[in-house]
């Protein structure tokens, strides 16, 4: 009976004819993401080489694409394709987990801030304003520069913990707007408790913007991770990530373009696909979209 919720609707939306007809670009973005993500997730099975092995640092240094190394090798004689796959697995997982962390924190905080009244509400709002005033990138550089031996899990948590302010503001705004809706007043008039109104009437109505924010957020975190790794304070070598792979080739980009180009391309395509998907989700999940039957 209760199977028809915004979440299940989100899942069905992918399969519906309307989805494909109205939004080919979204289907394309989805397909592209799968084409990138699946080989990356299966990196340990499909990668031709060990991503950190340096078989011949003199003879195989920075070789252009060839049959044995389709995307060439880097200055340490490592196979770029293998590193791209392993690096993608890491970059995508980092982005996914960090986004889940920030969406969870942001939704919880924003929902409470929007639903609370009086002093609690104003305190939460001021704290959020203060947090939003801290430039995220500078904060991250400061943290990771000071804490040089941070494990990847810590890196992910810190990315997540600094990324929820925007989500919190979004959710808070949504909740504030919802709170004055007639159906909330109607639910109160029918005897529902505040908790029930919150879980039944408020939360389901903010699923759409949160799902969209999460999709766009993943793209943002991929770029952030790449930037930090490029600066040498993100994912540490020899572990491959798309960001530190670009760094590996950045001082000889004109002569040995393949070292930086392929991870760069991977980042651009992935982020673009997430953004297109986010926009399409926004259209597809809107509860008042006209239904063609």
């Amino acid at each position: 009976m209760n199977s028809d919720t915004p979440v299940t609707r989100a899942v069905f939306a992918f399969g519906s004819r309307q989805w494909r007809r109205n939004d080919r670009s979204a289907a394309f973005a989805g397909a592209l993401l799968l084409a990138i993500a699946i080989p990356c997730l299966l990196a340990s099975f499909v990668a031709p080489y060990d991503p950190t092995a340096q078989p011949d640092i003199i003879g195989l240094q920075s070789r252009p694409p060839s049959l044995s190394h389709p995307l060439g090798t880097d200055p340490y004689s490592r196979d770029v394709l293998s590193r791209l796959l392993y690096g993608g697995r890491l970059s995508l997982s980092v982005a996914l987990v960090a986004t889940i962390v920030s969406i969870t924190l942001g939704t919880a905080y924003g929902a409470v801030a929007g639903y609370a009244r009086g002093l609690t509400s104003s305190v939460l709002e001021r704290v959020l304003d203060a947090l939003l005033s801290i430039p995220r990138l500078l904060l991250l550089i400061a943290i990771f520069a000071a804490w040089r031996d941070i494990p990847v899990s810590g890196f992910v948590m810190i990315l997540g913990a600094t990324g929820w302010y925007g989500v919190a503001r979004l959710v808070r705004g949504q909740v504030l707007a919802l709170r004055n809706q007639d159906f909330i007043a109607a639910a109160t008039a029918l005897g529902a408790t505040r908790l029930r109104i919150f879980t039944r009437h408020v939360l389901p109505n903010i699923v759409t913007p949160v799902v969209v924010a999460a999709t766009l957020g993943i793209g943002h975190v991929i770029v952030l991770e790449a930037g930090l790794s490029w600066l040498g304070i993100g994912v540490r070598p020899p572990t491959a990530s798309w960001g530190n792979m670009i760094q590996d080739g950045s001082d000889q980009i004109a002569s040995h373009w393949w070292i930086s180009l392929f991870p760069g391309l991977a980042i651009v395509l992935t982020v673009m696909a997430f953004n297109v998907l986010g926009d399409a989700l926004l259209k597809a999940l809107s509860p008042r979209r006209p239904v063609i039957e």
Binding site: M1, T5, A186, L190, G191, T193, R200, P287, R288, V291
Partner: protein
């Protein structure tokens, strides 16, 4: 006469705003008997909706029901009862139908789910039972193929259908009383007639008392047995519906009657009561209607009129009750004489 179902005594709901205290409801008293339809009529800003919301204690800050107000329902004072006790009344013993069927339903759940939820809020029965009862209620409100309709979303239903869904929600727990706040205002005229007929029919079958809040005397004439006319946060006239239409006493009620277009006469312009309701932060001294009244005299400015007994069950808040001769000498209302717009 038996004990009333609901007894409101000296209800005062004031809004403490930065611009001053808005006395939206200022000393309202009335009774509703079981199974009766009581109409409250008045123009925008007269306090009728705030009265309705006060009964279920749905007033948001800065609004407040002032001390000394009493709302006695089934032996409990709803002004002082705790929040859990109030929730047990809302939707269960007293249900409310809202004005806007478009926005009073949650867009992300099916209507059947929302009707069934009322039973789950009040904690009886399984999900399956609640769903069955929801479909039963939808049938009762005359929704065609209720089983399928129940699985649809609000945006797939017309305004009239949604209003039927809201009525089904209100009936779910078989309440003793339904508050209908302008239930037909947002609907077109043919649907309006159907909904009013449905409410009257359900009342007769289920014995539910109805408090009908409206600005439309036509709605009152079709549904109500007794009528309260509100103006300036007060009751200005109370009568049974026949007496009110045949023999209105208060000049405001008279004006409302006169403002209704009649099918038998052809007119270029509709009659209106000059001026508007004064802001609730500054009710005039004496009679609150005097600036717009065709009969007002010095006494109306100096002395706030009490509710005078006119006949059996008929009261009016107008000094004309004591000086009926004044009715023979109407004059231009003050707002027209001075051209002062409020």
């Amino acid at each position: 006469m038996s004990e009333p179902l609901l007894s409101v005594e000296n209800l005062r709901t004031w809004f403490h705003t930065p611009a001053g205290v808005a006395k939206s409801v200022d000393g309202v008293s009335f009774d509703i008997r079981a199974g009766e339809t009581l109409g409250i009529v008045g123009e925008s800003g007269c306090g009728k909706s705030v009265t309705a919301l006060s009964l279920l204690r749905l007033i948001q800050p800065p609004g407040r029901i002032e001390a000394g107000s009493r709302i006695v329902f089934e032996g409990k004072d709803l002004v002082t009862i705790d929040e859990a006790g109030m929730r047990a009344v809302r939707g269960n013993r007293i249900a409310m139908i809202f004005q806007e069927p478009m926005s009073a339903l949650n867009p992300v759940f099916t209507v059947g789910d929302q009707v069934a939820e009322v039973a789950r809020v009040h904690g009886n029965g399984s999900r399956g039972d609640a769903w069955e009862r929801a479909v039963e209620m939808l049938t009762l409100t005359g929704i065609p193929s209720p089983g399928e309709r129940a699985k649809q979303y609000p945006h797939q239903l017309s305004g009239g259908m949604r209003q039927r869904v809201l009525i089904a929600m209100a009936l779910m727990m078989n309440p003793a009383m339904i508050i209908a706040d302008e239930p037909t205002t947002a609907l077109d005229v043919t649907i309006q007639a159907q909904i009013l007929e449905l409410l009257t029919d359900l009342k007769q079958r289920l014995g539910t008392a109805i408090l009908m809040i409206t600005h439309d005397l036509g709605v009152i004439a079709e549904t109500a047995e007794r009528v309260l006319v509100m103006y300036g946060g007060e009751i200005v006239e109370e009568a049974d519906v026949r007496t009110l239409f045949d023999d209105a006493h208060h000049p405001y009620t008279e004006g409302l009657m006169y403002a209704m277009p009649h099918i038998t006469e052809s007119r270029e312009r509709l009659n209106v009561i000059p001026g508007t309701v004064p802001p609730p932060t500054a009710w005039p001294s004496g009679c609150r209607f005097r600036d717009r009244c065709r009969y007002s005299w010095e006494r109306c400015e100096s002395e706030h009129p009490p509710l005078y007994q006119i006949g059996a069950g008929h009261t009016s808040r107008c000094h004309l009750a004591e000086e009926p001769g004044r009715r023979a000498h109407p004059h231009l209302p003050l707002v027209e004489q001075t051209g002062a717009a409020l």
